[in-house]
């Protein structure tokens, strides 16, 4: 693939994105605009994540791609192959062996460590978007820390459902300052954001925003004093590996109402089964 530059993007674009990344790391949780490029995959498939990955990946990296916890779905396989062909780097499905992980909708169950980079794909970066449609106003609200309206949404959830119904993309406050959408990860993964030793990068291609949570940054999920934040629990274990503490997918196995619960993180599940 010598017709393409290393990792597809040209060097000027990578530098532009790296500058945005540096700014994002310097202001944890703050959305930094960047000149998002047209990528050879459609919006909504991870164009933001792919551009961030292309800007930070190096020849010595070991690369892993996760889609909804799995390494073997179309999106994960395609993006992994894309970088195999445009960079020639080694790839893996093992979380502990990877140095760079691009993910959609999950943070791996295996704890990340210092030196690893997790790139999350973001569809809508603005946490206040459905409460305030004007971009100019949401930017002001971020600048002035006017985040009370986010609690109006949580209040509504508790009023209607008795508890906060938001189960994914659950809003967080980063470093005590910026309100952030953690991308559509289940709220089960929110505690993993807090003081994570790895560098977490967020890329939104269509919305042209990059933000970051640097290593060991405090990240707090919003809640009320009398309705504290909680994560999902299952009263059953993984049908394949028996894990009781992992995020579960419910899979319909026949047309007679049969179903099974399995780990969403395929790497975690396979290694527990000793493969």
């Amino acid at each position: 693939m010598s017709a393409y530059n290393f990792a597809f993007l040209d060097e000027q674009t990578k530098r532009m994105i790296r500058r945005a990344l540096l700014k994002a790391v310097a202001i944890p949780g703050h959305q930094v605009p960047f000149g998002s490029r047209e990528m050879p995959l459609s919006y909504g498939w991870g164009t933001g994540g792919v551009q961030v990955t292309a800007s930070v990946i190096g020849p010595d990296d070991v690369f892993k791609v996760i889609d909804q916890g799995a390494d073997d779905t179309t999106n994960a396989v395609s993006i992994r192959q894309f970088f195999e062909r445009t960079t020639g780097v080694r790839t893996t499905t093992r979380t502990d062996a990877a140095t760079l992980i691009q993910t959609r909708h999950r943070i791996p169950e295996t704890p990340l460590r210092e030196g690893q980079i997790l790139v999350l794909q973001v569809p809508i970066p603005e946490p206040l978007r459905w409460l305030e449609p004007r971009e100019i106003e949401t930017r002001k609200m971020h600048a002035l820390e006017e985040y009370g309206v986010m609690h109006v949404r949580l209040y509504e959830d508790i009023t209607r459902h008795g508890h906060v119904e938001t189960a994914y993309d659950y809003p967080v406050l980063v470093n005590g300052r910026y309100l952030m959408r953690p991308s559509p990860i289940p709220k089960f993964d929110n505690p993993k954001l807090d003081r994570n030793p790895a560098l977490l990068l967020f890329g939104a291609g269509r919305e042209k925003r990059i933000y970051a949570v640097p290593p060991y940054t405090p990240v707090r999920s919003l809640d009320f004093e009398d309705h504290p934040f909680t994560v999902e629990r299952w009263d059953r274990t993984c049908a394949l590996c028996g894990a009781a503490d992992a995020f579960m997918d419910e899979i319909v196995v026949d047309d007679k109402g049969g179903r099974m619960f399995v780990c969403s993180d395929t790497d975690h599940c396979e290694r527990r089964r000793g493969r």
């Binding site: 002001k140 009370g148 309206v149 609690h151 109006v152 209040y155 009023t159 009320f224 309705h227």
Partner: protein, 259 residues
């Protein structure tokens, strides 16, 4: 708190829209606990003046000073945007003519009342809800409606909900723009009664813009009469209404229909 300093003082406030005059050389003092009425026909500059006083419009010239809780006087027009927005959330309240401009559609009545509390940092669901219930009582909305959407309320109830939502954080100064506009007379009467009770109980200062002289007679201590962007007459409400001096005021007073 010095008793000889007004809560709000405006001097020579002018707002020009190009060559057209919004309001010109308006000065007023609003004292703590006082309700000031601004009357005049449509297009006389009432709403423009209200916008200038409440920091939502930038006047072409003039000054507006406001006394904070600690007694210091700030120039509203020189305040930074963060400070102005904070003032608007804490010490000020705005009641719009159309309740839909002041309410958040799509969330329940309770959330509407609680929003300003949450904006000021309230993070206890039970206490926010208790406060919202208390305010529904005060504005005579049935407690059972707390989880209903404002769009299911009658326009009179929506207006009362807007008042509850504004007063829940105990602002010291409330700007009301035609609070009874579009309501039928019996609903108007109840609302006026309510506002009069609340301003008296809470010691609120208020500036009420209206074209309805009956509203001002019930609520306002003092009146400004505006015409063509200028104040043509001012004084105590009953003095202005019962003994109008300026020809325009005389016309205004005499045009009120007596049933």
């Amino acid at each position: 708190m010095a008793a000889d300093v007004p809560l709000l003082r405006a001097r020579d406030v002018s707002k020009l829209y190009g060559a057209r005059v919004g309001c010109r050389d308006v000065g007023l003092d609003l004292w703590p606990g006082e309700v000031l009425g601004i009357v005049g026909e449509s297009g006389s500059g009432k709403t423009t003046l209200l916008g200038c006083l409440s920091g939502r419009l930038v006047p072409t010239s003039g000054s507006v000073e406001f006394m904070l809780r600690d007694g210091t006087v700030v120039d509203v027009l020189q305040l930074s945007e963060p400070a102005l927005r904070k003032l608007a959330r804490t010490d000020w309240g705005v009641v719009h003519q159309n309740p839909r401009d002041g309410l958040r559609a799509g969330v329940t009545a309770g959330a509407n009342v609680g929003e300003r509390l949450m904006a000021l940092g309230a993070r206890h669901y039970g206490r926010i809800r208790a406060e919202a219930l208390d305010w529904l009582d005060r504005v005579e909305i049935d407690r059972g409606r707390i989880d209903d959407w404002p769009e299911t309320f009658s326009s009179g109830m929506q207006q009362r909900l807007q008042i509850a939502r504004t007063l829940v954080t105990r602002p010291r100064l409330v700007f009301m723009d035609e609070p009874t506009g579009g309501l039928d007379v019996s609903v108007q009467a109840r609302l006026l009664d309510l506002v009069r009770g609340l301003t008296a109980d809470l010691g609120l200062s208020a500036i009420i813009v209206t074209h309805d002289l009956a509203v001002t007679r019930l609520l306002a201590h003092r009146l400004l009469v505006m015409r063509g962007g200028e104040v043509v007459e001012s004084g105590l409400t009953d003095q202005v209404l019962d003994d109008p001096q300026h020809p325009y005021t005389q016309l205004l007073v005499s045009s009120v229909l007596q049933p």
